[in-house]
Symmetry: C2
């Protein structure tokens, strides 16, 4: 939890409302991920790996730098993620057509399979809770997820 309270100044204004909301989204994200992390142990693939792999599976092949930017991470971090995914046969490196400095990354069939399995496992407990929500609440969360992604990308 970070701040779900109006204790600080200017609790009525748009300024303060935005800050309070930012706080709550921050807090909610921390706690959501901490809860989901517990499912990781059952899998050989951790969240950052799964996340990067899914960009390649759903978004198609791209370079390491592009992937790092998409994942909001620095190149060295992505290098390590890719090294692991490659070691496990989930991603392959291909020569870039025009630039030999670059590395084109592509998900393998095994990568697609593992993504599905890992994603399902990781997300299962969350999904089962979501199933208990009303249609209205689900729609709200779907929209919120889109808004959050949009904000982060700006």
């Amino acid at each position: 939890m970070v701040n779900t309270d109006a204790s600080f100044s200017d609790s009525g204004g748009a300024e303060a409302r935005a800050e309070r909301l930012a706080d709550r989204l921050h807090s909610a994200s921390i706690h959501l991920l901490r809860r989901l992390r517990r499912q990781d142990d059952a899998s050989g693939v951790t969240a950052p790996h799964l996340s990067a792999l899914s960009v390649l599976v759903f978004g198609g092949a791209r370079t390491l730098g592009e992937l790092a930017r998409a994942e909001q991470v620095r190149p060295p971090s992505m290098t390590r993620i890719i090294r692991n995914l490659e070691r496990d046969g989930l991603v392959v490196r291909e020569p870039h057509p025009h630039d030999r400095r670059s590395v084109r990354l592509r998900a393998t069939d095994a990568g697609r399979r593992v993504l599905e399995e890992g994603r399902a496992r990781r997300v299962h407990s969350l999904a089962s809770r979501l199933r208990a929500l009303s249609a209205d609440e689900l729609a709200c969360l779907e929209r919120a997820a889109a808004l959050m992604e949009g904000i982060v990308r700006e």
Copy 2:
């Protein structure tokens, strides 16, 4: 995405929708936190410290175990967080009235001050983006934050 549809008569139904939404919330949370993390460097207090501190500031004094549960973290992790906060004079330990095994934790005045400063800094870039949203979108995100916290707590 997973194709669970074949196994269920409600094809394209609640099952698959919940899984897809869980996936998106997961992904959005990862990316939101990665973006916010960049603000940490300016502060001496990192996100987990800020988060734990805020429970004490807004929720009042409590034991280490209670705080660990509130923060979705194991006791050893919380021990270390508290050790740092204590070293910086943001939290103090008090004897528990009835149980000498326990440690009661309380935020200091310095803790309240640092919380506000760190929170503002960390959340500022996010809040400025939120301010650009419509009232409708803000309301959606506020509701979503509450739903996410509720789901995690269950």
